[in-house]
Subunit: 214 residues, 2 copies
DNA sequence: GCGCGTATTGAGCACTTGCTCAATTCCTCA
DNA sequence: TGAGGAATTGAGCAAGTGCTCAATACGCGC
C-alpha cells in the first residue's frame, strides 16, 4: 500500500526500516495488530526477513518500545535534568510545557499506553515502563524541592517527593484525559489551575496579551 | 407434586456464569487472552455455548466491560452524587476515600485500562469508557464549586470545572502510578499533599489516632 | 568470468482464533 | 410415555499467527 523502498542494504538501515514500518503499523492497527506479515508488507519486504534481523517478534516489540519510551518520556526527563536552574517559579512553566508536549505527542502516548497494558503480562516490558516513569518523576524532584524550600510553612507536611509524585500523577492523568477526549483538552486551563493551587505565578507563555476572561 | 429442587439453568444464570468465568480468565490472561475456548473451559462448558448466549465474542467483551465500568467507576460516581452535602472540607475526605478505593480496586483498574487500550480501536468501547470517565469527573463538580465559592480570591482564575478536572486527572494519574508500582503507593501521603495544596484541612480519616507505620 | 558468504524470499508447518452446525441430551408438559 | 422444543456438545472450517528453512539472488574480491 505504501511506497516500496528499493534500496541498497546496510544491516543497521534495515533494522531501522523495519522499526519504522512497525511504528506505522502500530499507529494504524495498535500493538495487537503488529504481526510479522503486516510489518513486512509495510516495509515492502518478506516476513522472513524480520526474523533474520530481530530473531523473534518479541524482540521487535521491545525495540519499538525502547524507541517509544525514549521519544515520549525519557527525552522529556533528560531535558529537565539538563537545566541547572531550580527557581520555584519554573515549576508552573514546566507543567505548562509538559502539557503542551502531551498534546504534541498524543498518538505516541496512545501507543505507549497500549504497550503498557497489552504487554503488561511481560515482566520485561513492565519493568522498562516502570523505570521510565520513575525517572520521569525523579526529574521533577529538584523543582519540587525548591518549591517546598521556598515556603516551608505552607508545605509543612508535604515532602518534595510527594509533591513531585503529585505533579506527575496530575500530568499522567492529563495524558489519559487527552486520549479520552482530545477535543476538550486545554493545556492552558489546567496549567493555570495547578499554578494557582501551588501559589506560583502563572507560566509566562502566550497568555500575556489576552487577559479579559471572567 | 412438583418439587423444584433440580432446576434447569435459567438463561440469566448462564450468562452470569459465563461473565464470571470471563472475568476470571481476564484476571489471569488479560483481555487479549479472552478466547471463547478459555472462557468456556473456565466455566466448565463447551465453547459453542458462549455463542449461543452472547452471539459473538465482542458482545461478551462489551458485557464484561459494562460490569467493570459499573463496579470501578460508575458506582463511585453514584455514591458521590447521592450525598447532598457540599461542605468544601469534604473534598479532602473524598480524595482520600477515592485513593483508598483505588487501592482496593487495583486488579479491576488494571483490567479497566487493559480494556481501554486493547479495545480502543472499537468506537463503542471507546465511547462507553469516555462517558464513564466524564460522569466520574462531573461527580466532583459540586464539591469543586463549593471550594471555589469558599475562597473566591484564591481561585480567581480557576473555574470549578477546571478544579474538578484537575482532581480527577490527579486521581487517574494515581491509578496509573498504583498499577506501575503497587508497593510504593501511599494514599495518605498523596491525599495529604493535595489537601495541603487546596488549603483544606486534612481528611478526618484514620490519621488522628497515630498509626505506627513508617 | 568464478566462487563464497550474506541477504532475501515465500511456501510450509504447527498452532490459535471466532464461529457454525449437525447431532445429541435434557426438561417440560400433555 | 413420548413428543417437542430448548440447551448443549464438539468436530470442523477458514483465517490468521509465529517461525523455519531450502532455495535463490546479490555483492564483491579474485
Amino acid at each position: 500500500m505504501e511506497v516500496p523502498v528499493p534500496r541498497p542494504k546496510a544491516p543497521h538501515d534495515r533494522r531501522r526500516q523495519i522499526l519504522e514500518a512497525a511504528y506505522r503499523v502500530a499507529l494504524r492497527q495498535r500493538v495487537a495488530g503488529l504481526s510479522s506479515r503486516a510489518v513486512a508488507a509495510q516495509a515492502g519486504i518478506s516476513n522472513g526477513l524480520i526474523f533474520f534481523y530481530f530473531g523473534n517478534s518479541r524482540a521487535l516489540l521491545l525495540a519499538l518500545l525502547d524507541w517509544l519510551l525514549e521519544e515520549t518520556i525519557l527525552r522529556r526527563a533528560a531535558e529537565r535534568e539538563g537545566s541547572p536552574e531550580e527557581a520555584p517559579s519554573r515549576l508552573a512553566a514546566e507543567v505548562r510545557n509538559a502539557l503542551e508536549s502531551l498534546l504534541r505527542d498524543r498518538v505516541r502516548l496512545e501507543l505507549f499506553f497500549d504497550f503498557w497494558f497489552t504487554g503488561s503480562h511481560d515482566q520485561v516490558i513492565r519493568d522498562r515502563i516502570r523505570t521510565a516513569l520513575e525517572r520521569y518523576r525523579q526529574s521533577y524532584l529538584p523543582l519540587a524541592r525548591s518549591v517546598v524550600a521556598q515556603n516551608p510553612a505552607r508545605y509543612a507536611n508535604v515532602t518534595a517527593e510527594a509533591l513531585a509524585g503529585l505533579v506527575t500523577a496530575f500530568l499522567e492523568g492529563c495524558a489519559l484525559q487527552l486520549i479520552a477526549e482530545p477535543r476538550n483538552f486545554d493545556p492552558e486551563t489546567y496549567s493555570k489551575a495547578l499554578a494557582s493551587l501551588l501559589g506560583l505565578p502563572p507560566a509566562p507563555g502566550e497568555s500575556e496579551p489576552k487577559r479579559t476572561k471572567p
